[in-house]
């Protein structure tokens, strides 16, 4: 029995030959193994009719996955969020513009509008159809920070996330050819609605049931390769979670700091109200502080949009990976249990072969023992045949699933490296920009402080009533009397000579 098991598993076995199909499904290049990073040439695609998105086109290189330049033949752009209000609800749609040279598409250009729920539908369909492939995540339905889902900031962030989603899809060698994806990109509104309702899709046998989850734990023969992937993903998600939390804490401290700055700056302005010869320096200080606090405010907002959101999305991505791992495990589980069953049946067959059916139930019922034996043997043969087929099928699926995941993980790692690099470079740039703005503000302040003070004489000539001996700028009491009595009008003088306060 042991050897038959080995026979089954070894490819050289002639009797129960398992056919190993090429795991690479048709449609993929042989060059799929070598990924070169693509820097999209914006000029090739920009057109006047989509001028609004041309800048985004230029930025597409930010979101692109690693794709072979020569094979890139599907480009998708998300932009132009618009709010719609119907009787039942208010929602936002985005414009999806597609350009392609693929023959599967009827045309080379398409433009449609889709809403977030449409994306949800698409993702669900893809997960059902390709349970063993890594489907990119979508941003969460609601943001905890931005409560107004129609605010321009929220929409901008969502648009970027949706763009990333579609770009990753279009660069995926398998997912990009999905029919639902094509419909999503091309169908007009009514077509699309009908398709959504009607579309049966391939009902996935691999739903993420408890069965699947438990499969991972009961796995006996899981290749260490996948355990490693699981552990890596687990650790990675944890690290990103920590980074996200750290970032939130920093933002909180920065927000508090900004509040203090907003209180601090005005004190200099108030102080300038008491001084006549220090007005310019004091106002310069106040202005510099204001500029710094403004710069920090903007840094905080940008951090939320361009750092926290992508971080969270990557954590969602790891959830998707874990789901694929689970499904893969489930397939392997089923494959293994099928093998067990098959072996059992084969054992039974051997057993029946040498058995004596004289005392079987069939004989008891009056049948010829030989016939009973034959019947049983036939039945077993049939079962064995079915199980063998099932086992082959599952073996295929296991191998496919393994390869799909392996290939996707390789791509994911490359993309992750690129994405992470860009994410942190941008974060560093943000800090540098903040410091540069503050630097300039203080340099300007020094210039203003050191500049020749708008002369006391000018102030004198502006205000007249209060002191009669204004004209004499001697060093007597009269001088100081002017100073102290002109503090009240210095304020007006200040506003006259300092237009931008």
């Amino acid at each position: 029995m042991a050897e038959s098991k080995d026979e089954i598993l070894s490819p050289d076995n002639s009797e129960d030959n398992l056919k190993f199909r090429d795991p690479l499904i048709s449609g993929l290049d042989a060059s799929d193994g070598e990924m070169e990073s693509l820097s999209l040439d914006a000029s090739a695609r920009s057109e006047p009719s989509v001028s609004r998105s041309s800048s985004l086109m230029g930025n597409l290189s930010r979101y692109d996955d690693c794709v072979d330049e020569e094979t890139q033949d599907l480009f998708v752009v998300v932009d132009d969020p618009e709010k719609h209000t119907s009787t039942l609800e208010a929602y936002v749609t985005f414009r999806i513009t597609t350009k392609t040279t693929r023959s599967e598409f009827d045309d080379s250009q398409f433009q449609v509008r889709r809403r977030y729920n449409d994306f949800l539908w698409l993702r669900q369909k893809l997960e059902e159809a390709y349970p063993t492939h890594l489907v990119p995540p979508l941003p969460e339905k609601h943001s905890l920070r931005r409560l107004d889902r129609f605010s321009p900031e929220f929409l901008k962030v969502r648009q970027q996330a949706l763009q990333k989603f579609l770009t990753r899809l279009s660069n995926h060698p398998v997912l990009s050819f999905d029919k639902n994806f094509q419909v999503f990109l091309t169908a007009k509104a009514w077509e699309f609605q009908a398709h959504k309702k009607h579309g049966t899709g391939i009902l996935s046998r691999m739903s993420d049931s408890i069965h699947n989850i438990s499969a991972s734990y009961m796995m006996k023969n899981r290749s260490p390769e996948f355990t490693l992937i699981y552990e890596y993903v687990q650790n990675f998600a944890e690290k990103f979670g920590v980074i996200d939390r750290i970032s939130q804490r920093i933002v909180k401290e920065q927000t508090d700091y900004v509040l203090e700055l907003c209180e601090w700056g005005p004190i200099y302005t108030l102080w300038s109200n008491s001084e006549d010869q220090l007005t310019t320096p004091l106002l310069a200080m106040s202005r510099a502080v204001d500029i710094c606090s403004q710069a920090l405010k903007e840094t905080i907002e940008t951090t939320e949009d361009n750092f926290s959101q992508p971080l969270k999305e990557y954590i969602l991505y790891t959830d998707a990976i874990k789901a694929v791992l689970r499904r893969r495990d489930a397939i392997q589980m089923e494959y293994e249990s099928t093998i067990d069953e098959l072996n059992k049946k084969k054992d039974e067959r051997e057993h029946v072969k040498i058995s004596d059916q004289t005392y079987s139930i069939g004989a008891f019922l009056g049948k010829d023992p030989e016939d009973v034996k034959q019947q049983k043997q036939d039945k077993l043969e049939q079962q064995i045949e079915e199980l063998t087929k099932k086992m082959e099928d599952l073996n295929d699926r296991t191998v496919c699933a393994d390869t799909d995941l392996r290939v996707d993980m390789e791509r994911w790692h490359k993309n992750k490296q690129k994405d992470v690099k860009e994410l942190f470079i941008e974060a560093a740039d943000r800090q540098i920009l903040y410091y540069e703005r503050c630097l300039k503000a203080w340099e300007d302040a020094i210039r203003a402080i050191q500049a020749k003070e708008v002369s006391h004489d000018t102030l004198e000539s502006q205000g007249t009533e209060n002191s009669p001996n204004k004209a004499s700028s001697s060093e007597e009491r009269g001088d100081t009397m002017e100073e102290s009595s002109s503090t009240s009008e210095a304020h007006e003088g200040a506003t006259n000579s300092e237009p931008s306060v």
Binding site: F236, K239, I267, Y268, L278, A288, I432, E475, R477, S484
Partner: protein, 433 residues
Amino acid sequence: MADDDSIPKYSPEGLSHDSVEEDPFENARKADKKNLLQWMEIAVAEPEKRVVTSMKVQDTFIVYLVETRITDKNIKYNGDGTSSLWRRYSEFELLQNYLSITYPYVVVPPLPEKKASYIWQNSPTDKFDAEFIERRRAALEIFMLRVAAHPILSQDRIFIGFMQQEDGWKESVYLTDFQSKAESRLKALSASFRLQNPDRQYDELKNYCTELESNISNLLKIRARMADKLYGIHKIHGNYGRVFNEWSGIEKEMAEPLQSASHYMNVFAQSVDGILEEEEQYADQLKEYLAFADSLRSVCRKYECLQYDVERAEDNLSYKKSQKEMLEQGKTGGTFSLSGMKTKLFGSDTPEQRDQKLKQLDEQIKHTEEEVQSTSQELQNFIDASMRDIDRFKRQKVKDLKEIFTNYAVMQIKQCKKGIAIWTSAKDCYTKM
């Protein structure tokens, strides 16, 4: 205004071979030097801890080395032209107190605060902490330089003795009996309330003091809170350092860049300590002007006391004059008076008695007139002198604050550049991922 006969010897080592006893201060005055810093260097250095046991009680305190050195070759002196002795904070206080009382028309430079206030939470409050002592030393030096730069205060013998008279300086201070010239708080308070004709300038100056104090203390208060937040921001970045390090453990190609980046996150976190230490300087400079406001207010208070004296003398005079008038006219002064009663009961004065009284009143009037004159003169002198010094103070203040603000801006620029450098290095690490 100080009168001190004991001229301290410049060279403590004893008489030099020069037969002529040179007093460099006298020589400097003859050479038309306006203040000490024009020909002398002064420093407060080297704080040291001293422990003194007296009557079984141990007293620990810090002493500072006060050093001087003559830098102008044209001023003749005996010895090597240097001096140095140890002074503790309480002696500085005594000096400052003496100067404030002896020269009430001068805006006397203030001392650093006795106890730290408006400090950022991690700043040292312990008076034996090295940072605190260093900051105090710097502030004491500034105090000495300001006094030495003052045309009037720098000539004071007690001040000179503070720098050069090792033994018996305290006694010589008390010998001046300066405390008797101090105005009681109560008098000052009542003076400010009861003035009939106050000079508006001083009222305005008092208002200015209040505003200045309020503005500066608000600045300091919020600055301390800002320091807390800035500290938090930087230190939390240190956590990035830790997690980058851990993360590098599960990566292959990204491992090295992550570790380098981790290092820069730690650098960023640690940089805050230097930043906040520098910013304490700014706080100290503002605190000095906060204390200056109080000094300025003292001058105003002295004015009010003097004005009060004048008004009282004038009131006295007019009262006495009206008394004389009534006596001359034989009236018994108003509807009800003691003399009126007396007249009714015992009969009016005899001509001799009346003459006596008139003579007395005349004397008193003459006396009071002299008083009015002297207090008015004193008041006028005070106003002249104080206004001159207040003017000097104002000009100094403008210069100082411009410099203080400029220094703060320079500090900020330095910090920004440092931040840019650190984040650029981190960015370099990221580009290698």
